[in-house]
Subunit: 420 residues, 2 copies
């Protein structure tokens, strides 16, 4: 790795490269005004475009058709119980737009009529209750931004790099501003008996998803949400009602939420026994590993997003998050960990939310080994994959928060690699 | 107005109403579990839904088809130079989803190919420059949430209430997290001459929109943005590049941005002389009234969103904003201003961004006269419409930030009214 990949001054980002006669020119960098080719190829100001009656609900530009969720056909037996990954390499900031939010179903997307939907609270409560959607809207609401990450995100990386792109290695995640009623208020309305120590949310789709949630978490920061990023939940995100379990694995965020049962012990259902447990090397399984550990990934450059402009001023970008708090600091290395640099954080810092980081540097055109390392507000530092494997073995597919490495070649092409 | 519309305790929101045998029951409020009708009408768990291969870019539920932008046909001569309003009464939180962001065009929606798009900086600069989109991506970016409000928002209210719905009276606004390069960095790259005191952004659509912006603002918080809420700008919002001028009237946020000219004085173009000036009663016109004053509106209940549940516990919701800072406080009245109550703010508080407020109360079923009043972080308090008219007359269509009134009848129907 070259030691001349330095952090530039902010001024003259491109002119410096021009003055040096660098590779930037060939990639179409800033040039003197008056290029005659420009007016010849621009035709969009020569006619009137669509009026305001054309798009009551807007959609992306046709030039953005490549920006889409993608699934991996060989990963699951059937698309109705599978995963559609967020294209992290095409996004910026911290909000995931609703149309691109990672989706995971166990029996396909239920198409629920909100007028007919009901939420029941039963079990160890003073008064079992059934709520309509209109009832839910009469409780005080809150607005909060949270990431949702599947416990299996990066799961294919346990045994070595297998998928070439952060959409596939890290794209089982999204970050949304939710509007919802604190779960605590609904439980208080029914009146939880003293013996009630656990809550079991249940979904209204054909899979009837269930999980066990300790009462302490249910009364803390969980939301029964009906809006995401301002509008109604999308069908694939549980329309009209989903449970939000901040910082905890996505499988617990039950969609199409129809029932909350209060009990005195966990239910040990399928999704917390045969699935969503972490089989260790000695045959023991870790259970109830709900909290998502601090993690980060460089989204640009990355295998689906090569460096196109050649050497010179380069913007590296990425995401970091923790199920336990905020991300005050991310380190970035260009040389596989020989030297680390503090990334620049930009954008809001919310608890249990994605954080955006950048690192600007002058690339000398030599190969790079890129990594990022998140520090969360508890002091926890993201481990290497090898450190994780030492403790957990390689049997699990869940809770892999190890440091990711991208190799970038002299031509700017990035690929998923492992280094020791 | 009845004095019995009180602020309830949080506990037993619906059960209190049930115990009292109130009108809540008839609106379908929380009831004892076991209603046999429920399982009969729910069919969405009896079959598998769409798989993950069905929706690479997701769209709202078919049950949300009424949630859309709307235009007012008589308002303008042609839909290519018109307005499409945000359905504020259907949204919650502070983020406006991209598909529902208010749009205003002067020559329709330009369909710009980002590979062919260029941004030129010329005029009083050391080196005129032309940037490709790839060049822009090599400058340091920032992520910030801002509202965009058209100066004509609520313009039809100057001479009395005319449009029945907050979508139409206040829907020329949206609130988005932008990713963009500080305008300051691009101007520094070209090198602004000492004589350069103004910047003129120009759009690439057929209207070639231009405005004059003082250099002080250009170097302060303006962004040249390419992402909104995480993904590429939408075509109707200036894809692939728009100017963000935080807190200032929307007309200055030039879309399809193709040129920034630096000059020593304002240009006095059409959109800052015949339009976007405020004609006073004495025939003088206020000019360069860029900053948007503090304002608020109750979005629910409102004429398009009546109270459906009858008397009992009711959630009132609304939005407040200021072009000068944050909104630390909103007051709400149920009785046309006889008594005011502090609203509950919920969600992030950013500078020059929408803020969400709520007021929960037990409605006794008597008619209501609802108003909200915003206080901004400079100490400014939103005025009444009559206070504004005293100072500005009724000739203008711009910069009406007066307090809005909704009358709610005993049946829960709301309408736009004026009170003195």
């Amino acid at each position: 790795m070259s030691s001349s990949n330095g952090n530039p001054t902010r001024r003259n980002v491109l002119r410096g490269a021009l003055a040096a006669g660098g590779a930037v020119m060939t990639a179409g960098a800033a040039r003197a005004a008056g290029d005659p080719a420009i007016t010849e190829i621009q035709t969009w100001n020569q006619a009137l475009g669509d009026g305001v009656d054309a798009r009551p609900y807007g959609t992306p530009s046709e030039f953005e058709a490549h920006v889409k969720r993608r699934n991996v056909e060989w990963l699951t037996a059937d698309p109705v119980s599978s995963v559609n990954f967020t294209p992290l390499h095409e996004l910026d900031g911290i909000i995931t737009p609703n149309g691109l939010c990672f989706e995971r179903h166990h029996a396909g997307i239920a198409e629920v009529d909100p007028a007919k939907h009901r939420l029941m609270i039963n079990g160890l409560v003073d008064t079992p209750l059934v709520f309509t959607m209109q009832d839910i809207l009469r409780f005080p609401r809150e607005n909060r931004v949270y990431f949702l990450e599947c416990a299996a995100n990066s799961g294919m990386e346990w045994r070595g790099s297998q998928l070439n792109g952060c959409q596939f290695t890290h794209g089982m995640i999204h970050n949304v501003m939710y509007t919802g009623v604190p779960l605590r208020l609904l439980l208080e309305e029914a009146g939880v008996k003293t013996s009630g120590k656990w809550v079991m949310p249940e979904g209204a789709d054909a899979s009837a998803m269930t999980r066990s949630i300790p009462m302490e978490k249910a009364l803390d920061d969980c939301l029964v949400a009906f809006k995401m990023n301002g509008e109604a939940l999308r069908p694939e995100q549980g329309y009209p009602l989903r449970l939000v379990v901040p910082g905890w694995e996505g499988n617990m965020w039950v969609k199409w939420l129809r029932r909350l049962e209060v009990g005195d012990q966990p239910w040990h259902h399928r999704e917390e026994t045969s699935k969503y447990t972490d089989l260790l090397a000695d045959g023991q399984a870790r259970r109830f590993t709900w909290e998502m550990d601090a993690k980060s990934v460089i989204t640009n450059p990355s295998p689906q997003a090569p460096i196109l402009h050649g050497a010179g001023h380069t913007v590296l970008s990425g995401l970091a998050w923790s199920g336990r708090g905020t991300i005050p600091r991310v380190d970035v290395t260009l040389d596989g960990g020989n030297s680390w640099h503090a990334a620049r954080m930009s954008g809001p810092s919310f608890e249990k939310s994605l954080h955006r980081f950048y690192y600007e540097f002058d690339w000398d055109g030599s190969p790079l080994l890129l990594q990022s390392r998140a520090h969360d507000s508890t002091g926890y530092v993201q481990p290497t994959k090898d450190q994780l494997r030492e403790v957990r073995g390689v049997n699990s597919i869940y809770h892999n928060n190890g440091i990711q490495t991208w190799h970038v070649s002299e031509s700017g092409v990035a690929e998923n690699v492992e280094i020791s």
